[in-house]
Each structure stands twice: as structure tokens, then as C-alpha cells.
């Protein structure tokens, strides 16, 4: 989230698209309701009528997988009607930049596309440069090659009429929403967009989110209280686990993992990765401090801080990297020997669940750490599988729940909060910290004894001492914050990191959360709510928000070039003529290195400090987003409709896997005519591995169900409460039919497709399961392995299925 949960109360208009906060983040409705009490309007755009929709002032149904068209329509509406915040986009975005005249777009494809390789050459996706190397601009927006004019042209195709047909949303609804939301383009109005997996779980996920972000930039809604582009993230610490780089391509603090092709040496890594301008010029300091934190005294300037110890990424499996789907494709192809699984249940949560389970049978061994027996840990006894045929050894380790251990978690709003231990875990269950620490010790033991162990140095030399028996989470937290090497003094924050090896820091963006040695210095554990400047709900002394305890990022944009707040009631930063007076931690320098005050003009053109341009990007150069510098609507890979916007049916970069378990449906299939998508309910959590074992939750949502419209039910002779089966070429899932007017066909879209909605919480073990010991227990048995080419996020939210009554 750019903003925060509490900040939702500051909004004038809340647009929820691709999220369902009433069900998935119910407590957020404390703040959404608070905004509504003050007169805010709630707009909900969703394929189905959810509990969130039930509270909306305006609800519009949208066909799954057409969000980029919807937002493209809003962009067109804003530009055509000149509803954009002109001063804002002039100063704070790249709207005025001139783009390479060689850049073009034709029939759904941007310049540089190679159809055989299914990839783009990014040579023309660049800015025009002047002789001095600076970007050419036209702040009057007259030049047809300036970004705003390119957008005007590009999005002119997204007319209300066409968007309405693509999205299956009435033109009237579209215009009503456009009018209500785009009014927030005025400086004293705030509009926020809330999204979640409804936008991301598509082969066009990045397009969807980017288009929503462009709407917010055009309206000047980024960097202000009550505004922002807010990803409502899932798990309690999914923000933290992302921040710590538990993704193949990342290291802690969003430093890129080195690639064999680009970063073979430390100097090549620095050349390629360290920015030439903007705040990321400091990247070497963060990176060196990380290497020091990992290899301590062994990492020296002479040995490039042991850069060679870091693995270098290759092309990955089938030249597709190492992300989730390639990982399971590789496993299914018998390329992976062992898997460690920490508090995750891939047998249900991954797409194409039958393939995931089949892949696990190819492993030599599997280690699972969890609270309960999960479908992953007992995949060998899943319905239809014969245990005697499964050779995989399985170790199931009993773990502690959140309230049975101490440590920090980061919520969706980047707020790091400290958890205190309230009770002991049951039996021999242990906190994962203890398990990881013990595993390290066991590995070190094994590697020390094994003379032939290959390249064991990175493990044996790892800087790892968090206690002899019980590891101390405070010691780990302090290393994450960072300290000086010589006298082990905690550093105040990341501005004190250095690139000469004199500081250690496990995650630079968290630096500042534990700035002193004592437990009282742990700012994640701060609990003072007495200070709430201007009653904006920022609560600067409650916990600690990365970076630097900033609650709303890009907040320079809340004031104009002169530093005068656009809306005094929602002041975040303010220049009083002589100094900055702020309610939030400013997202820019207010003092220079020498301690002198930095006047507003110095930051008036660079509020986005992490970008080398200093200004937000409508047009993304250099292929940083692989499938287009501007956004474009493509149909889901499995769609009942042709793309009404261009001849390019799907995202041109999408990869179709070819294993015998990767069967796909052709567009417009008559065998699988309905749009399937997964969803969630308030009463369950993720794959249900916890919630299906809590009887109070289980009694409310006891078994798998499938929601369909009365029309579709009638067509198949299905009555409410009947058992039905949903079928795709990947598999089937059984559940109880809920026949409801909350689901409707998308009548305006070609072929008026029907929708089939399925929660993804059910499985085959636990206090409650999918139901009736059927072998078809999970919605993900019908989903497919296609994914967004940028993020690797599978397309759970739009695929094709058939349905029939059971028995």
C-alpha cells in the first residue's frame, strides 16, 4: 500500500476493483465505513456481487480479465475531458517527456516485437535525449511525441462504448463510475483505489495494476492522504516475506539477485544495478552492508565482499526463470531432488493442483513445517493416489503459531509490528526461527564432516550466531536494522550505511526500526497512540513503517512545487516560507548533507526519489515492464471472447507450457463455455490449512461450494444445494451449488458468457474438507499454469470451464 488502512477514512471516493475487503480484510471496513460516515462514496467493480458490493454506493459487474480495458477507459475519459490534475502531472510525472520517434503501437503490439521469439526488443522504448544527455520535454503538452499526447492517442481507442462491450458493463454504469471517481482530480479531493488478486492474477496483471496507477497519477491521487494505489495484500507477513527477498529474483530490500548473464562480477553488478541518479545511487552501500551481514569478517573490500558466494541466476527451467510455475514444471519433469516448504500448502495454493501433486511424487524428499497436517505434507495419501507408489520421503515439522513466539511482522501498509509471546507451542512444536537455526547448525555439522562437500565455504563462513540453543529474535532484528562492524553500534537508519564494509545491514529498507541496543529501542514495539497530527490517523509513534517511519509514500506530491499543501485539511508536508512543517516523515530531503534547509524548489521536480527520473512514469522505458511501456488490454488466455480492441488476442509474451498436464482451452470453446474464477470468503484463510481446522470457522463455511446464476443453473437442471462438478481439461472440482442472483452472465460481452465462482479454501485433510471425500476437492484442480510475463502470477481469475450436476 502507498497509504494505510486507517488512511482509508480520509478518502472522498473509494474505488474497489479486484478486491473484496469486506470478506478478505473485514477490519478495513472500520475505516471504509468511517469514510462513508463523512460522505465518501464507495464504488465496487467486480465480476460478482460480493459482501463488499453489498455496501457499495455504486456497483458494476466486470467480465474477468478486462480490468486493463476498464482502467484504459478511465484514462481516456480523464484525458478527453481534461479532468487530469495538470500541475501535478507536469511537475511530478513524465507526462511531458518526449519519447523516441521510433516508438509505435500497431494492432495490439508495441514496436520491437519478435513473433518467433515471443519477446520485445526495447530499443525504441526510450526517451528522446538532448545533446547534454537530459530528456527532452514539452511541458505545454503540444508535441505529439510527448507522453501525454501518446497516451491521448493510445487510449482514444478505449471509448465508453467499446469498454462497455469488452467489460460487459453497461455504458451507463461505466460513465457513472468515471464521473464519480474522476472528480477526485481536483486538488482538494482524494480518491483511493483498492485492489488485490482480482487485478494481479491475470496474464495481464501488470497491465491492470499499471493502468490503475496511471489513473491515480493523472488525478493527482498519489502521495496524498485519502489517496494512493493500495494493494490489499494477503498473509499477515506477505509484505515482510517479499521485503526479505523470498522470491527467486530478489535479495532483501528489493536488491536484484545477480544474473549470470549480466552480473558475473561485483563491478558489473554495480555498473548495471546502481542508479546514476535518484536515491538509488546509494545501492552499493545497501548491497555491501548485506554481504557483510551475511559473511561478516570474511567479506572484505579485497574479495569484493564475497560477491562470488551469491548464486547467479541462469535462464531457469525451460528458459523461463525460477518462479513458481517453472519451479513446479521443473519438479514435474523430475529436475528437482528436494523441497523445503515453510508454512505453505502448494498442493492447494498453486495453479493446476493435479500437476502440483504429481510433481511432488517426483521428489526424493520433502520437508514441511506447519501447524497442522496439510494437503502438501500428506499429498501421498491424497484421494486417488496409492501411497505405495510414492517414493518421496516426507518430514513434517511441528511449528509454533504467531502468538507462541516473538518477532516482527509487516502489514500491508509497510507497518512493522512486534509480536509478543503469549503461550508455549503445543508438545514439541517450535518456532520456525528455532527450526531454521537448528537446521543451519545441523547443516554446518554435516558440511564440516563431509570433506568432499562441494563449495561449502558460503555455508561454513556464514555469519550466524543468534544464540547457542534458543535463537534470540532480537539479535536477528538488530542485524536486519544494521550496525557498525567495529563497535557493533546500532545505526540510526539506512542513511548511515556505507560501501566500505564498515556497516552490516540485513535489509536496508528496515534500517531504523531497531536503532539502539536495548529492547526499548525496538520501534516495531512502540505503542503510543497519543500523537495523531491533524487527526489523519498516521500515529507516528505506533510501531514503525518502512521506509524511515513514513506512513504515506511519495508525500512530496501532496504539496505543490512551492511546498503549499494542495489540501490543508489533509496536510502531510508543508513549507511555511522558511522551513518544512510536516505531519508525516517527508519523502524527500528537507536538509542537505551540511544540515542546511532544502527549499521546495529543489524537490519540486523529483518527488519520486527512487526513480532515476525523480518523476513518476506513465511511459515506462527500456522494457522495465516487459509487455509494454503503456498498458494494453488483452484477453485472458482462456476467454470466450475475441479481443475487441485489436487483432492481438492474448498478451504477446505469454508462455504456454507444453507438458502432458498443461492442457489449455481454445478461445470461444463450445466444450468449455463458461468463465471460471477463484474467490475467497471471510470465514476461511488461504488454503484453509488453519481455518478449516478451527471448528467455529468451519461450521460457517463447512464445504466446497460453487456459485452460479439462476440462468446457468436452469440450463443444466441444477437446483440450489445440488452437488455439481466444474470441469476443465486440467481437472475437476466438486461442490455444493449456490444458485444466486449475485452471479450474472456478462450479457453485453460477445457470447454473453456465464460465470462460475469458486472459493480456493478447500482440500482433503482437516476438520472440514472439500466435502464427501471426493477426489475433486480444490478449485485449483481446474486452474492453469499460464501467468503474467512480468510477475509470474498465475491466471487464477479467468479461465474456461464446463459445469454439470453430479448424480
Amino acid at each position: 500500500m502507498t497509504n494505510s488502512w486507517i488512511d482509508l477514512k480520509n478518502a472522498d471516493v473509494i474505488l474497489v476493483c479486484g478486491a473484496n475487503p469486506a470478506e478478505n480484510h473485514p477490519v478495513s471496513f472500520k475505516w471504509i465505513t468511517a469514510a462513508k460516515d463523512k460522505g465518501a462514496k464507495l464504488i465496487v467493480v467486480d465480476p460478482r456481487f460480493t459482501r463488499t458490493a453489498a455496501k457499495a454506493d455504486t456497483f458494476a459487474r466486470i467480465r474477468p480479465g478486462t480490468d486493463a480495458a476498464f482502467f484504459g477507459g478511465l484514462i481516456n475519459y480523464i484525458i478527453t475531458n481534461k479532468l487530469y490534475h495538470e500541475e501535478y502531472i507536469k511537475n511530478y510525472t513524465n507526462a511531458s517527456y518526449l519519447v523516441n520517434p521510433g516508438f509505435s503501437f500497431k494492432d495490439g503490439v508495441f514496436s520491437g516485437y519478435d513473433e518467433d521469439l515471443k519477446s520485445y526488443d526495447y530499443d525504441t522504448w526510450t526517451y528522446q535525449l538532448q545533446l547534454n544527455g537530459e530528456v527532452s520535454k514539452d511541458t505545454d503538452f503540444n508535441n505529439p511525441n510527448c507522453v501525454l499526447e501518446l497516451m491521448r492517442d493510445h487510449y482514444s481507442r478505449y471509448t465508453a462504448d467499446r469498454v462497455s462491450k469488452i467489460c460487459g458493463m453497461s455504458e451507463d454504469s461505466f460513465k457513472k463510475i468515471a464521473d464519480a471517481f474522476c472528480r477526485t482530480g481536483k486538488p482538494d479531493r482524494s480518491g483511493t483505489i483498492l485492489y488485490a488478486m482480482g487485478l494481479t492474477q491475470h496474464t495481464t496483471g501488470t497491465q491492470n495494476v499499471r493502468a490503475a496507477g496511471m489513473v491515480q497519477l493523472l488525478l493527482g491521487n498519489i502521495g496524498i492522504a485519502g489517496g494512493g494505489l493500495n494493494a490489499l495484500r494477503g498473509a499477515a507477513n506477505v509484505q515482510g516475506s517479499t521485503d526479505f527477498g523470498l522470491l527467486f529474483n530478489l535479495l532483501p530490500g528489493y536488491l536484484n539477485m545477480p544474473l549470470a548473464s549480466k552480473h558475473e562480477t561485483f563491478s558489473r553488478y554495480k555498473d548495471a544495478e546502481v542508479a546514476k541518479s535518484g536515491y538509488a545511487v546509494n545501492k552499493t552501500k545497501w548491497f555491501v552492508s548485506l554481504l557483510k551481514a551475511w559473511w561478516g569478517e570474511y567479506a572484505t573490500e579485497e574479495n569484493d565482499f564475497l560477491y562470488e558466494f551469491l548464486p547467479k541466476l541462469g535462464d531457469g527451467y525451460d528458459k523461463s526463470g525460477y518462479s513458481w510455475v517453472p519451479l513446479f514444471e521443473a519438479m514435474y519433469a523430475d529436475k528437482i531432488n528436494g523441497l523445503l516448504c515453510w508454512g505453505q500448502n502448494p498442493v492447494l495454493s498453486g495453479p493446476n493442483a493435479n500437476m502440483t501433486a504429481a510433481a511432488l511424487t517426483k521428489l526424493d524428499w520433502l520437508v514441511v513445517s506447519d501447524l497442522f497436517e496439510t494437503e502438501t505434507s500428506v499429498f501421498w495419501k491424497r484421494p486417488g493416489m496409492k501411497p505405495e507408489d510414492v517414493r518421496t520421503e516426507v518430514f513434517l515439522l511441528p511449528a509454533a503459531a504467531s502468538f507462541e513466539k516473538e518477532g516482527s511482522v509487516t502489514n500491508s501498509a509497510r507497518l512493522i509490528q512486534w509480536m509478543n509471546k503469549a503461550a508455549d507451542p503445543p508438545g514439541e512444536a517450535r518456532p520456525d526461527l528455532w527450526i531454521i537455526d537448528s537446521l543451519f547448525k545441523a547443516l554446518k555439522d554435516a558440511y564440516s564432516q563431509e570433506a568432499t562437500a562441494k563449495f561449502s565455504e558460503p555455508l561454513l563462513k556464514l555469519n550466524w550466531d543468534y544464540g547457542d540453543d534458543e535463537p534470540d529474535p532480537h539479535l536477528v532484528a538488530k542485524e536486519i536494522n544494521g550496525f557498525t562492524v567495529t563497535d557493533k553500534t546500532q545505526i540510526i537508519n539506512f542513511t548511515k550505511l556505507s560501501d566500505d564494509g564498515s556497516t552490516m545491514c540485513g535489509n536496508w529498507i528496515y534500517s531504523g526500526f531497531y536503532p539502539g541496543d536495548k529492547k526499548a529501542d525496538n520501534r516495531a514495539a512502540q505503542t503510543d497512540t497519543s500523537r495523531d497530527p491533524d487527526k489523519l490517523g498516521l500515529y507516528p509513534e505506533w510501531a514503525y513503517s518502512w521506509p524511515l517511519n513514513r506512513r504515506i509514500i511519495y508525500n512530496r506530491c501532496s504539496a505543490n512545487a512551492e511546498g503549499v499543501p494542495y489540501d490543508k485539511r489533509r496536510m502531510l508536508v508543508s513549507w511555511d516560507g522558511a522551513k518544512w512543517v510536516n505531519n508525516d516523515v517527508p519523502d524527500f530531503s528537507i536538509k542537505d548533507v551540511a544540515g542546511a534547509i532544502v527549499t521546495p524548489d529543489k524537490t519540486a521536480k523529483s518527488p519520486f526519489i527512487m526513480l532515476p527520473e525523480g518523476q513518476a512514469r506513465f511511459f515506462i522505458p527500456d522494457g522495465l515492464i516487459k509487455d509494454g511501456p503503456l498498458t494494453e488490454h488483452y484477453e485472458p488466455v482462456e476467454s470466450p471472447s475475441n479481443n475487441l480492441l485489436s487483432g492481438q488476442q492474448n498478451n504477446p509474451l505469454v508462455k504456454i507450457w507444453q507438458s502432458d498436464m498443461d492442457k489449455m482451452v481454445e478461445p470461444g470453446s463450445s466444450k468449455y463455455p463458461y468463465i471460471g474464477f477463484t474467490c475467497r470468503v471471510a470465514e476461511h484463510w488461504q488454503t484453509g490449512s488453519i481455518s478449516r481446522n478451527l471448528p467455529w470457522l468451519a461450521e460457517m463455511m463447512p464445504e466446497m461450494f460453487i456459485e452460479i446464476s439462476p440462468e446457468l443453473a436452469a440450463r443444466h437442471g441444477i437446483e440450489n444445494g445440488n452437488k455439481v462438478k466444474v470441469i476443465s481439461p486440467r481437472g475437476e472440482v466438486t461442490g455444493v451449488a449456490i444458485v444466486t442472483n449475485r452471479i450474472k452472465p456478462f450479457e453485453l460481452s460477445p457470447n454473453a458468457p456465464e460465470a462460475v465462482s469458486m472459493p480456493d479454501h478447500y482440500g482433503f485433510v482437516g476438520y472440514v474438507t472439500g466435502g464427501d471425500e471426493d477426489k475433486d476437492y480444490s478449485a485449483n484442480q481446474v486452474t492453469s499454469n499460464v501467468y503474467d510475463p512480468n510477475t509470474g502470477m498465475p491466471e487464477y481469475k479467468a479461465f474456461l470451464v464446463d459445469i454439470r450436476k453430479v448424480g
Partner: protein, 279 residues
Amino acid sequence: MATAMLVDVSRCIGCRACQVACKEWNLRHAERTQNQGSYENPPDLSAQTWTRVAFIEEAVGDEVKWQFRRVLCQHCTDAACEQVCPPKAISHRLSTAVVIDAEKCTGCKYCISACPFDVPRYNVQTNTVEKCTLCVDRISNGQIPACAKVCAPEAVMFGERSIMVAIAKMRLGKLKKRGFKDAGLYGEKELGGLGVMFLLTSSPSFYGFPEKPTVPLSVNIWQDVFKPMIAVAGGGAGLAALVSLLGSTGYKGSQRGQGSQRSQGDEGSRGDKGKKQSE
């Protein structure tokens, strides 16, 4: 001091935290349930389920409305259950809460028949009748009921009655302005004032409430005629007479039918299975 709970259906998001909070605080067991073609579960109140949320779906032209209405004891001022209870196990506590004293309850179930809202439920294991206590243990310790405390959108509130009424009327004004013509406050005056008032956006009957709840005639007769008789005769004759009298009012069937049919109809056409469960 008069207190009251206010349940505002216009704010309820149907997350059912109240349902779990009730079970958590009062240590009620989960029931084994099935999906009956609806989000609603458990399908009815029981000795283990003192509150639940009804999901009321309504097709209005091309649009659909989905409302969430809590079902729980209304804590009537003129409480039929209290009046009818032979061993005087039911009483008003802390002026608002209508509480069954398990020590005194004999499991005769008269209260079940008498309740205009069909709330009390018999517990076979303990041979007592059980229902919401308004968390009288919490209130007496200065804490609000568990279901009110847990509610994020403040759809459930608890406090001084006059303030709850004032808040309700202010919100009612806003709802009327937003076009909810049939919105109203239920329970301000009904049965001498309900301890649990509802701010509704449609008519009471839409939610399964009796439009004009009354203490059943039979209860009055019981109070005046049969209760003294039982006291004298030791029960047998009076009991038989009462059961037949209550049966003849047809009261229970109509009330419960109203509630569950509404939600059945609204969930599409809930199958026979569902009806059996709730009736």
C-alpha cells in the same frame, strides 16, 4: 441505568465476527453443518449458537441486494419468556438483560413457545433452555458484550439506551435521505422497548421480524389462570392445557416460517434439505 444494544443492518458487512465472538466468550461448541446452498450457517439458533447472521438476498429488477441481519435474543422489556417461566428461572438483570438461570431452569420449554422472536433453544445434554445473555458477565464488569466489541464497522453497538436511540435516529435520518424510504428503528417501543434494537433499511417483516410483536395472548392467560393452577395442582393438568393452547395459536410455525423462508427465497430456491434443517 437503561442500556441497549443497537444493531445497524446498513453497516453490517456479514463477516460474522459477532457469531464467533459469542461462541468464544460463552464457550459454545461448533456444530457439524453442511452447506445448504447458502452462506448461512449454522442453519438455526441452538443451545450452542446464541446468535447467527441471516443472509438475505433480494433481486430488484436487474439489481441485487444482499443484507445481513443478526438473529439473537431481543431482550424485551415485556419479556414473555420471563412471565411464563414456572420456576422463575428467567429474570431481568442489570435492567436490560433477560437471563436464564441454568440452576433454576427445569427445561420445561414454555419460554420457547412463548417467545415472539423464536429465540430460546433446548439443550438436551443439560435439560435446560439456553440463549444469549447479553454477556451480562461482561456488562457487570464494565465491558460491552463480546459481539458489540468485535464489530469492525460498528454495526453492533452497546451503551446507554437514550444514546443508542439518538444515534439510531440520526443514522435513520441519513438513511432516509439516501433513499431508504422504508428504513426504521425497530425496538424502541416494541414490547416495552427491546434491549436489542435494530436499525433496518426495509420493513421489519422483510427481515423476519413480527411487525407488531406482542406477548402472546396465551402467556397472559397463563399468567393469570394456569400458573396459579399449577402452583396448586402440581402441574399436570395445567401443563397439558397450556401446550394445547399454545399449539392452537399457531404462533411458532408462522414466526419461524417467516424468517427462514425469507432467506430461502433470497438464496435462490433453497432445496428441501435446507427447509428440514431449519424447521
